[in-house]
Amino acid sequence: MFLTDYIKDVTGAVKSLATGMKRTLYYFTHHKEIITQEYPDNRDTLVLPERFKGEVVMPHDEKNEHRCTGCTACELACPNGTIKVITKFDISPEGKKKKAIDKLVYHLELCTMCNLCVEACPSDAIKMAQTFEHSVYDRKQLTKILNHPGSKIMEGVE
């Protein structure tokens, strides 16, 4: 009994090792299917995976309008205080006060690209961009204001 188990052990081990070696030999002989990219050389043709997340941006349309209502849902959702929404009150033509954003401050150096702010946003005002070349010499440059100067909220977004 012991001997059969022993022989089974040895043959099983040899078989499974051979399976592994067959796999790696396949990879070795098919080295044209490279999964890495020669990054700085192929900068122009670089294709990033769809789900790659580089930084948070706020899309603006051609009239310099965004969709952010200043609800601070993103600020509350952020686990490490990356986003700070500074609100102001716009006076509408009818004389009503309306909440709007003054600045949406985004600290790229704190961001972990977890995507929780984008999921929390009720009006799809922010999204993840695929830019990733973020190196700068001064870390002040990593604190970004996402809404463009002079921008205002799009009509019909509440």
């Binding site: 052990d9 040895v10 090792l17 592994g20 070696m21 796999r23 790696t24 030999l25 990879y27 070795f28 098919h30 080295h31 299917e33 490279i34 999964i35 890495t36 020669e38």
Partner: protein, 358 residues
């Protein structure tokens, strides 16, 4: 004929005609030393590059491809970097032992070069106990590793060294026993005798199953003896930072690194000599057209070709298998490899006595 032995003979004749015998001997020894060091340097550069390429291709990467054409100068650049780095000795270290250890590793590697036949009639020292010499000297390697680990005064170094000691001492047994099978079949410990006995076919073809088993155990055991993955517990970078050479830097680290690759080359050369006929071309039977055609390929190419095939095999192991735990490692040796190679040795002895091999 343009061959290594021919060049060696020419040099010898010229030296004997020019100098008296004593000076001829001295100059030849110096030349041999320089040649061995040159071979070491070349092997270090080639093997490091080869390892990185094999690793990259197995992992579907490109590997080094920036320095020089196709990245061929990468290992040269690495060497340059290591040369200019500071060789630091830690304060708490045993300074003499710490600094001597890498050189012992290199001396062992150099001694092991002596009985290896690189080509037909091209061998530094064809001593009559060549195979025994190799097994005996290669065990000194563990002393350099223990010295390095102990003198570093670092817990990781010490643990790596102790693991390495346990590993090398145990795997030497099955390596020795698998070498014994060929010694039994050949009836000689001399390297040239072993190679000449394979003139009508290599042992791996002539020896049937027992030699196959011996070859496999030999390859496993020498992978363990040279401390390479999946048996690289002495280094185990995820557990012990770098094991016994954690505290080494600069050229002293490079010597350990080089010694590892030289040892890989040497054990593969021994494996090629014992099982694949060393420099002996591929022969079947005796005196036929196929053998004559094979003889046209120079013997040095046969030797290096076989050796590099085995080196590739060992690299292939490294980049395929996960590292073993220390208890699994010792189980593998004492419960599997050693009993199997002992029974295999008995089988081979019976085969040799009854003349069942070709």
């Amino acid at each position: 004929m343009w061959s290594l032995s021919h060049i060696a003979n020419e040099i010898h004749t010229w030296l004997s005609n020019t100098f008296n015998p004593t000076w001829t001997l001295v100059i030849e020894m110096v030349l041999a030393g320089v040649a061995v060091i040159g071979l070491f340097a070349a092997l270090g550069l080639v093997l490091v590059l080869m390892e990185r390429r094999v690793a990259a291709w197995i992992q579907i990467r490109l590997g080094p491809n920036r320095v020089g054409p196709l990245g061929l100068l990468q290992s040269l650049a690495d060497t340059l970097k290591l040369i200019v780095k500071e060789g630091l000795t830690p304060d708490g270290a045993d300074k003499v032992m710490f600094n001597v250890a890498p050189f012992i590793a290199m001396i062992v590697a150099m001694l092991l070069m002596a009985p290896i036949a690189f080509a037909k009639d091209f061998q530094l020292w064809d001593l009559n106990i060549g195979v025994l010499f190799v097994t005996a000297v290669s065990s000194i390697m563990v002393i350099s590793i223990l010295m390095a680990g102990w003198s570093s005064n670092n817990k990781y170094s010490l643990m790596g060294a102790m693991r390495s000691g346990a590993q090398i001492v145990s795997y030497e047994l099955s390596a020795g026993l698998s070498i014994m099978t060929i010694v039994v079949l050949t009836g000689s410990l001399q390297v040239s005798d072993i190679i000449h006995s394979q003139g009508n076919g290599w042992w791996i073809f002539k020896g049937h199953l027992p030699v196959w088993i011996a070859f496999i155990t030999f390859m496993i055991a020498v992978t363990a003896e040279t401390n390479r993955a999946p048996f690289d517990l002495a280094e185990a970078e995820s557990e012990l930072t770098a094991g016994f050479h954690t505290e080494y830097s600069g050229m002293k680290f490079a010597l350990f690194f080089l010694a590892e690759y030289i040892n890989v080359f040497i054990v593969c050369a021994i494996g090629a000599t014992l099982f694949l006929g060393g420099w002996m071309p591929l022969h079947f039977g005796s005196n036929n057209a196929f053998n004559d055609a094979m003889d046209y390929i120079p013997s040095s190419i046969w030797f290096f070709g076989k050796t590099f095939c085995l080196i590739f095999l060992i690299m292939w192991f490294r980049w395929t298998f996960p590292r073993l735990r220390i208890d699994q490692l010792l189980n593998l040796e004492w419960k599997y490899l050693l009993p199997i190679s002992m029974i295999n040795l008995l089988l081979t002895t019976a085969m040799a006595i009854l003349g069942w091999h070709f």
